[in-house]
Amino acid sequence: MATGPPRPPGGRAHTDDSRAQTTLDFAIGVSLFLSVMLFVFAFVPGILQPFELSGEQDTVLSERIASDLSQGTLGDPSEPYVLETHCTVAFFDEGSPSPSRCDYEGSTIQERLTVEDHRNVNVSLRGTLSGADADLLCWDATSQRIVERGSGDCNPDAGDDDRLLTGGETPPQSNDATVSSRRVVGIQQTNVTMRVVVW
């Protein structure tokens, strides 16, 4: 075996350039580590994203509001899901003070539902009273009866205090972060659907 250059024990002849770890090894090592690091940093936010919690309590809030309105505030707790006409119509009359006899206070929907003022809520009554498809309902003051918006006798802006039975801001169509709860309730001898949207 040809002997290479003599290897003195502990001799200084080990210059650093003979480290046997070529720059290539180092390059592989670090690049591998960096690539894994990049992968992890790219991947982790991905798994976190669906759990970026925002507005989780809206689901429970809309259920609470819907149950409270349909089983107590707009009617009588001893007769759940049946609304009393006068208080229901007055509930949607924003701006004027609540009638003392009814089970809510304040003049805006937020105050009447005891939620913070910045909270976006919309409450509306829909139903199919005549014809085939459901429509927003309206209080016709002349006949003291609840009618569909499409029927002739509902003219909310005609001065006689007809009124559309919807309160709060209009829910955004595109925004998907809204939560809505529905209850079927009875009013004036018929069934309508109360819809509460929170976003």
Partner: protein, 205 residues
């Protein structure tokens, strides 16, 4: 051949090995984290449970508002004595496609069919022997596993009249003297004919 002074060269591969070990540790920790969290395909969408809660309230709301005017009790007594079945129900004796033409049927149609929710209606009552029996009022097929049940009990008294097709009370026939009426007298001694539980099983199609 190790070198007493920890020569620099043998550790060469050590660095890459170290990087590999680090990388492995990193990937292992991420996968462990994933295993630990109950990440399921559905875990981000909680809407299905929310919708089921709505269905339960819908069923209860329909029956509560119909029964306020006695509509549920009349729907149970909406019986055709001569045909021995509910008024103009198909041969099976229970409604299938369109609901009965009374307040309860119209309410179901208005609120449930409108939002393409399929539903079955069963009447659960007690026989005089005390065991429980069930009769279909309306049947639309096997409910899916997300089906939700809402129920309401209605008391029928011995002399309650049957209801004719147009909704008016029958002058002579009552639940007791009608021969083909399905509801037995569970309390033969007393005035109560039967306590019927109306069950609406609804599911989204």
């Amino acid at each position: 051949m190790s070198d007493r002074r920890g020569g620099v060269d043998e550790r060469g591969q050590g660095h890459t090995l170290e990087a590999v070990a680090a990388a492995f540790l990193l990937v292992a920790s991420v996968s462990f984290a994933l295993q630990m969290t109950a990440v399921t395909p559905l875990s981000a969408s909680t809407s299905s449970q929310h919708l089921e809660n709505q269905l339960r309230y819908t069923g209860a709301g329909v029956m509560a508002s119909v029964e306020e005017r006695g509509g549920l009790s009349r729907a149970i007594r909406y019986w055709d004595e001569s045909d021995a079945r509910f008024h103009d129900a198909p041969d099976g004796g229970y409604y299938t496609a369109d609901p009965p033409d009374n307040a309860f049927g119209r309410a179901l149609n208005r609120t449930l069919d409108e939002r393409n929710i399929a539903y079955n209606v069963h009447l659960v009552y007690e026989r005089s022997s005390g065991d429980r029996a069930q009769k279909r009022l309306l049947y639309r097929g096997e409910p899916s596993d997300h089906a939700v049940r809402a129920s309401r009990t209605v008391t029928i008294m011995d002399r309650d009249p049957l209801i004719d097709a147009d909704g008016t009370e029958n002058g002579t026939l009552t639940v007791s003297n009608a021969s083909t009426y399905f509801l037995p007298d569970a309390d033969t001694g007393g005035p109560v004919h039967n306590v019927v539980r109306v069950e609406v099983v609804a599911w989204r199609i």
